[in-house]
């Protein structure tokens, strides 16, 4: 709340000092900064693609409460209003995410959420007097209407629609200097508060490091959080004590039981005094000089406040390998040719690993949940959902609700992937609801956050592959261990064209215990960067087994301890392998039963 107030004051000062003198230039209001978001949720997942966090009316078919904010008007007159929005399911039907903008309780003329692709949609005009004006977003459908920003101006020219021009205009409107407003320094900066990031922060904090943990959501856990609800799998390895602070019970994926583990996890991480937790902060840049990261820049997902985080060491636990990507770390994306690392499994051939490399990686999931209520309810079929679900019926989701396609990138096209899964869910549920036996089913929860399986993989000194699994290769630096089958997915419609395109099949290669070396957990070319989580150094098939969250948690805990030794000896991550491996082993062994 403190941050919201600060931003409001900042916005007022900003608007009055900059724009009121030349009202023609207009006022830009970021929707995620609205004072009262009502039933709208802040979605920061696609900032790197469409430019900003946005507000979304995620009501599962029931219109959500209005989002409201206030703006100080210094010059009375007629103002034109635009909303940056999009029709997320364009087609020959009424768009699903429609909403209105009201100004001082009067709705403007044009319904919003109808334009295909992110852009400025004209909302109408209103006469405003000097003083405070109230704006509200009125959701009309409950089906994921979205608003990035509102622009009002006495001029009639909308802002630039997209691309670099828009980004530049936005920077100018916000009068942002190049560097963030404030700066902090730590021993270790961990970006990404999934299980791997949390474990890294704890591992380092217990060894006395001052740690920043930056996470773009209000709760910790990533895919295991109560917002995504995948249960944690895998073994604990050497880090049972730490991982039990963070993991989940084995409830069904999507279960509301995830909330209990959420409370446990948040409480446990917050108990560490030397972890500074930056919830709702999303990193947007990392700069390196001479192959060394100097800082990570992050922005608050609602207030847009910016912060620069400096440290001698960084952990990329973002899943998508963003820190490494920005800093220029070597990375891979896609499925390697089966021959590259000798990863053939004859039984499944091309579905397992292709002869020709491609970008057709495992997909992302959206979990959802229903319950049987006391009374019968309707959930009408929507044409934009029907085209995806077709005749598929379902009253529950699971891990195999997964979407990947060879023209889609799991990061760059994340919003389209998420939206496709929403259509699949709403459409399949409506099909099921058309049957009398399902009349009492109601949607209780549908995630709006993508649970990703695979995206960028940062390359370390060792690339973990299928051969390391098959051979159960013991490494001198085996800091992570796992027994779980290699578990690689493919889309069902590849083999059977008539199958829904949003369902996957899993292939399990079972083997004995295998090990991940420490050398797969630091970058080969950025010398102060660790990675933990699914962006660790591995091949597509190598990722298949250890991508589950106790295993990624082991990675995090291991690099947390390695970071402590780096600080102690004033060395970079690679030197722990070359010069201090015995000491790392000792530290890992001794931490197992200590109490923080």
């Amino acid at each position: 709340m403190k941050n919201v107030c600060q931003y409001w004051i900042f916005t007022l000062l900003f608007c009055s000092s900059v724009f009121q003198s030349t009202a023609q230039e207009g006022i830009l209001l970021e929707a995620e900064g609205f004072l009262f978001p009502g039933g709208w949720v802040v979605d920061p997942q696609f900032v790197q693609q469409m430019g900003s966090p946005y507000l979304m009316a995620h009501g599962m078919g029931q219109p959500v409460d209005p989002a409201r904010t206030e703006v100080e008007i210094n010059e009375s007159g007629t103002y034109h209003f635009w909303a940056r929005t999009k029709n997320w399911a364009p087609g020959n039907w009424s768009p699903p995410g429609q909403f209105l903008l009201t100004v001082n309780d009067a709705a403007l003329s044009d319904t919003l959420g109808r334009n295909p692709g992110w852009g400025w949609a004209y909302a109408g005009k209103a006469k405003l007097s000097t003083g405070t004006a109230t704006l509200e977003l009125i959701d009309l459908t409950g089906f994921n209407g979205r608003c990035d920003a509102i622009f009002l101006s006495q001029g009639e020219v909308p802002p630039p629609g997209y691309g670099k021009k828009l980004a530049e205009w936005r920077r100018q409107m916000h009068q942002e200097p190049l560097a963030p407003e404030s700066e902090k320094s730590y021993d270790l900066v961990v970006t990404g508060g999934g299980i791997a990031g949390c474990a890294a922060a704890i591992g380092a904090a217990e060894q006395g490091l001052k740690v920043a943990l930056i996470h773009d959501r209000p709760v910790l856990g990533g895919n295991a959080s109560s917002e995504i609800r995948v249960h944690t799998l895998g073994i604990y390895g050497k880090f049972e004590r730490i991982l039990r602070l963070l993991d989940t019970e084995h409830y069904p994926n999507g279960s509301a039981e995830a909330k209990k583990d959420q409370e446990k996890r948040d409480k446990n991480v917050k108990a560490y005094k030397n972890i500074d937790l930056f919830l709702n902060w999303r990193a947007y840049d990392a700069a390196s000089e001479d192959s060394t990261i100097q800082y990570v820049d992050a922005r608050h997902t609602a207030t847009n406040e910016r912060m620069r985080f400096r440290a001698p060491l960084f952990v990329d636990a973002t899943g998508d390998g963003w820190i490494g990507y920005w800093a220029g770390a070597a990375y891979s994306y896609g499925r390697e040719s089966v021959h590259k690392y000798d990863e053939e499994w004859d039984e499944w051939g091309e579905l397992w690993s292709p002869e020709e490399a491609d970008n057709f990686v495992m997909g992302s999931s959206i979990l959802w949940q229903t319950h049987e209520g006391e009374e019968a309810t309707d959930f009408p079929q929507q044409p934009w959902a029907k085209v995806v679900a077709r005749t598929h019926e379902a009253t529950a989701g699971e891990w195999y609700w997964e979407f990947s396609r060879n023209d889609l990138h799991q990061i760059e096209d994340g919003e389209e992937i998420r939206d496709h899964l929403l259509k699949a869910i709403y459409g399949s549920f409506a099909n099921a609801k058309a049957l009398p036996e399902n009349s009492h089913y109601q949607l209780t929860w549908v995630s709006y956050l993508l649970g990703k399986r695979e995206s960028r993989r940062l390359l370390g000194d060792h690339i973990f592959t299928f051969q390391d699994v098959v051979n159960n290769t013991p490494f001198p630096d085996s800091v992570v261990m796992e027994d779980r089958a290699v578990d690689v997915h493919y889309q069902r419609n590849l083999r059977h064209e008539e199958k829904p395109d949003f369902l996957s099949e899993a292939l399990f290669y079972r083997t004995g215990r295998y090990y991940i070396p420490y050398r797969s957990l630091y970058s080969r070319n950025i010398d102060n960067l660790f990675m933990a989580g699914r962006c660790f150094s591995c091949s597509h098939i190598g990722l298949g087994g250890p991508r589950v969250m106790r295993t990624t948690g082991q990675m995090g805990a291991a690099v947390g301890h390695a970071a402590a030794l780096c600080i102690k000896h004033e060395v970079k991550p690679r030197a722990i392998y070359t010069d201090h491996l015995e000491e790392l082993w000792g530290l890992i062994e001794s931490q197992q039963w200590t109490r923080p």
């Binding site: 334009n115 004859d346 002869e355 020709e356 396609r405 060879n406 023209d407 419609n493 590849l494 395109d501």
Partner: protein, 376 residues
């Protein structure tokens, strides 16, 4: 040896040779195969004329070796493998023999089983299998991921044994894929014949599959290439596709292009990914591949669009009427093909028309593209 005796032998030999010519089966198929009672690949059994021992499968449960025969047709072409299996099936220390012929195709996939005269299958209580039981056994054997996979005999028979990796939360089984339950096993096997089903399934899905696959490259020749490619079986077609050499695409162009439209997305995408560059540039291939764009799955369409750099402007023109079928990213890739080229007038006109199509959700991207193109 007297002359008379030699003459008598000659007569017998001549008689035998004539007999063999008239009845070649007698000579070439000394031990005819039992009838395949249940098979998913009847064509493999046509014209079998000879068998030869290829390898053995080892049954660790009973420590028995079973020779596996490679069956060839009259032309000497390999057609299938079979094993005459005699194995004990034991319950509580009491064993009874089971005899069954198991058939695999040339890729090691189970394709059927047969029975020997006088050796019907029986259940625990000695009742004979009924027709429905034989059908169910066939279905069980067809499933290489059946509930028996990685199960030990003791897992099935120990009344106290828990299913492997069964995962429960608050008393409910959570992971349908984690482990087979006893109910799943009961549902999959012939009632009263669990032991027989288990034993036969383990033999069918033991080591034969690998041995057969290892042998295939040594048997492979032009005739097999053709037979596989013209087979109706997807696994044969796919194997043949993977073996194609550069020149084979010309030899088999008709069949390959027929399979391209008639086969699965997996086949199509594999074919496009491995198609040598020179065929992308050939009119026949362009016409058939790009001409079928409207009938194809989304992933194959993507590969055709990304293949335009090899196929050229003629193929891009062929796709233009299908723009409304393209996904957002496919359209972007399609437009980027034209980005650095001088836009022919008819392409510009058609794109302009497309940019006004209110039924196509990504028409706005075409509009943006045309705007940029106009900018000097």
């Amino acid at each position: 040896m007297g002359l008379n005796r030699i003459a008598a032998m000659d007569k017998a030999l001549i008689f035998f040779l004539v007999y063999c010519l008239l009845w070649p089966g007698v000579f070439l198929a000394p031990d005819p195969l039992p009838v395949a009672m249940h098979t998913s690949m009847p064509e493999a059994f046509e014209g079998i004329r000879s068998t030869e021992e290829a390898f053995s499968v080892f049954d660790p449960q009973h420590e028995l070796e079973h020779p596996v025969q490679l069956c060839r047709d009259a032309d000497g072409a390999p057609r299938l493998y079979y094993a005459d299996v005699q194995t004990p099936v034991c319950i509580d220390g009491i064993c009874k023999p089971v005899r069954i012929a198991i058939y695999w195709n040339l890729l090691g996939a189970y394709i059927g089983y047969g029975l020997y005269e006088g050796d019907p299958l029986t259940k625990y209580d000695h009742d004979l299998f009924e027709e429905a039981d034989y059908q169910k056994l066939h279905q069980l054997l067809l499933n290489k991921n059946a509930v028996f996979r990685r199960k030990k005999l003791s897992d099935l028979f120990d009344p106290n044994a828990e299913p492997e990796k069964q995962v429960t939360y608050k008393g409910e089984e959570v992971d349908a894929v984690s482990g087979a339950t006893k109910k799943a096993i009961r549902d999959a096997v012939v009632e009263g014949a669990l032991y027989s089903c288990y034993t036969i399934w383990q033999l069918v899905h033991g080591t034969a599959d690998d041995s057969i696959k290892v042998a295939l490259p040594n048997l492979w020749d032009e005739a097999m290439q053709q037979r596989f490619l013209y087979s109706d079986r997807a696994d044969y077609q796919f194997y043949a596709l993977k073996q194609l050499r550069d020149s084979d695409y010309a030899t088999y162009s008709t069949r390959l292009l027929q399979l391209f439209t008639g086969s699965s997305p997996l086949f199509r995408t594999k074919m496009l990914k491995q198609l040598p560059d020179r065929y992308w540039a050939e009119e026949l291939w362009q016409e058939k591949l790009y001409g079928s764009f409207g009938q194809l799955d989304v992933n194959s369409r993507t590969l055709l669009i990304t293949g335009l750099e090899k196929a050229g402007e003629g193929s891009a023109l062929r796709l233009l009427p299908h723009y409304h079928l393209m996904t957002q990213n496919q359209l972007k890739a399609y437009l980027s093909f034209w980005e650095d080229r001088k836009l022919p007038a008819d392409v510009a006109n058609q794109l302009t028309e497309a940019s006004h199509n209110r039924n196509y959700p990504y028409a706005y991207l075409i509009e943006r593209f045309l705007e940029v193109q106009k900018t000097p």
